[in-house]
């Protein structure tokens, strides 16, 4: 069973922040987790690497919670899947 996007995002955040993943939930806010602006761009870097996506600055600017982060990543993953050329079967 592949790890859910949500769990992977939480794992990236926990690793970047050196937090126990148990303490990071879908409802956590960045403020609660002590994520400041520099931490935020460090997490974006981790997510770009984890999911092999490019997160534009505009998309990243107003994200303040784990849930928004997960939704943003899911959106970018969907766009990436949509733009991929059709595979032959």
């Amino acid at each position: 069973m592949p790890e859910e996007v949500r769990d992977r995002v939480i794992r990236c955040i926990a690793e970047a922040q050196h937090l126990d993943p148990e303490t990071v939930t879908i409802d956590s806010t960045f403020e609660e987790l002590g994520i400041d602006s520099l931490d935020g761009i460090n997490i974006l870097f981790a997510l770009e690497t984890e999911f092999e996506i490019d997160i534009p600055d505009e998309a990243a600017q107003n994200i303040r919670t784990v849930r928004e982060m997960v939704e943003g990543v899911e959106r970018l993953l969907a766009e990436k899947a949509g733009s991929r050329p059709q595979e032959q079967t």
């Binding site: 400041d36 602006s37 520099l38 761009i41 870097f45 534009p56 600055d57 990243a60």
Partner: protein, 404 residues
């Protein structure tokens, strides 16, 4: 020995606005932008595409081929700016004054472009060995050391690396060294050349580089634009300038430093305010003596309102009456060279009777409530000018110049 006055008798600059001070001054007067599509690096691999490179720079016009190969671009810029400043001061290699002279330069990334290229050979191309020149080309003091060799300057020579405050720290240290009598003359300034893929990708990851251009203090500002270059000044006492018949271009009258002790990359209001106040105190000047501020003004979302608040905190009601501009809108953010380049720009412009503009200015931002010299230069003849540099790491350095 009491404290001595310290005057500037030579200026030198190379930047996106030209390879000497005359070209820089002409560009400032025209409000000319040195920001263009990046040529030195494959910009298709970057989220941003514009930078402020020295256009058409050819090392061979300044150095013989062997010398050029020994010097990273940042060190070449340091030497080129120093040559111009020394020439204007009426000095030459081996001058007797140089026995008690020093050189203090600033650079943030030093010769990392050379290092980057060497490491590509090692890590990517799998080469078993890399050039022995990488060490002497990468060291941040390479420019200072080359200037020392070229002019036979034998006093204290060193380099300060405090990110974007490097060269203001260097000028301030040089000012204090001449003022105290430790040395009689100093060459001070900074240089930077950051256009390598590795460094640009690292800046991209910081998410502070604008996708189009640099619009300091505007409502729609979208980040900084990186710029390369170098700028140097010759500092000495008025007596020594008089003895040699050198023209006094300006005087350094105050220097203030502080640390935010707040955050690695987020600026504070208190730190910059402390540095500006310290510079005023050092000069013994009231805030209303300042007639122009060359702001740090990076054009990032966070810097500009924070700097505006710091200026308000220090200058109070006088803040509304001080023309402020950020010449980074024209020559880009030259990191460790910024304080020196902006100091030279401020002095050169004021000496010609104008205040350089903040170009690319669109709409005022109420959170940057300052008298911004927008888009076109303004006639001006300020007696005292403030030059601000605030660095990542929370380190602030402010220099005050007297023009008349």
């Amino acid at each position: 020995m009491g404290l001595r006055r310290v005057v500037i008798t030579g200026l030198g600059a190379i930047s996106a606005l030209g390879e000497n001070v005359a070209e820089l001054t002409g560009a400032l007067r025209r409000g000319f932008s040195g920001i263009r599509p990046i040529q030195l690096v494959d910009r298709s691999k970057l989220r941003f595409s514009n930078g402020a490179e020295v256009p058409g720079y050819e090392p061979e016009r300044h150095f013989d081929p062997k010398q050029a190969a020994m010097l990273d671009r940042f060190a070449q810029f340091a030497v080129i700016a120093a040559r111009e400043a020394v020439r204007q001061a009426g000095l030459e290699a081996g001058s007797a004054l140089f026995r008690r002279a020093g050189i203090i330069t600033g650079s943030c990334v030093g010769g990392q472009t050379t290092e980057d290229e060497g490491f590509v050979d090692l890590y990517l191309r799998g080469k078993p060995r890399i050039s022995p020149l990488i060490i002497p080309k990468t060291m941040a003091n390479a420019g200072a050391s080359r200037i020392s060799l070229e002019f036979q300057i034998r006093g204290p020579v060193y380099t300060i690396s405090t990110a974007c405050s490097s060269s203001n720290h260097a000028i301030g240290q040089a000012y204090w060294a001449v003022r105290s009598g430790m040395i009689d003359l100093a060459i001070a300034g900074g240089s930077e050349a950051m256009f390598s893929m590795g460094i640009l990708k690292a800046w991209e990851a910081m998410r502070v580089v604008s996708p189009d251009t640099c619009r300091p203090f505007c409502k729609d500002r979208s980040g900084l634009i990186l710029g390369e270059g170098g700028a140097m000044m010759v500092l000495e006492t008025p007596e020594s300038a008089r003895r040699r018949g050198a023209s006094v271009l300006a005087e350094v009258v105050g220097f203030g430093m502080s640390s935010d002790a707040h955050h690695l990359t987020q600026p504070s209001v208190e730190g910059p305010a402390l540095a500006m106040q310290a510079a005023l105190d050092d000069a013994g000047l009231p805030p209303d003596a300042i007639g122009y501020i060359n702001a740090h003004g990076t054009g990032t979302v966070t810097n500009d309102p924070t700097e505006a608040a710091a200026i308000r905190a220090v200058f109070g009601s006088h803040a509304a009456r001080i023309p402020v501009s950020s010449t980074k809108s024209m020559h880009g953010h030259t990191l460790g060279a910024a304080g020196a380049l902006e100091g030279v720009a401020s002095i050169a412009a004021a000496r010609e009777g104008f205040l350089p503009p903040t170009i690319n200015f669109t709409e005022r931002d109420p959170s940057c409530d300052l008298d911004v010299v927008a888009n076109a230069p303004r006639p001006g003849n300020p007696e005292f000018v403030m030059s601000n540099s605030f660095a990542f790491g929370g380190l602030n350095a402010v220099v005050l110049y007297r023009l008349r």
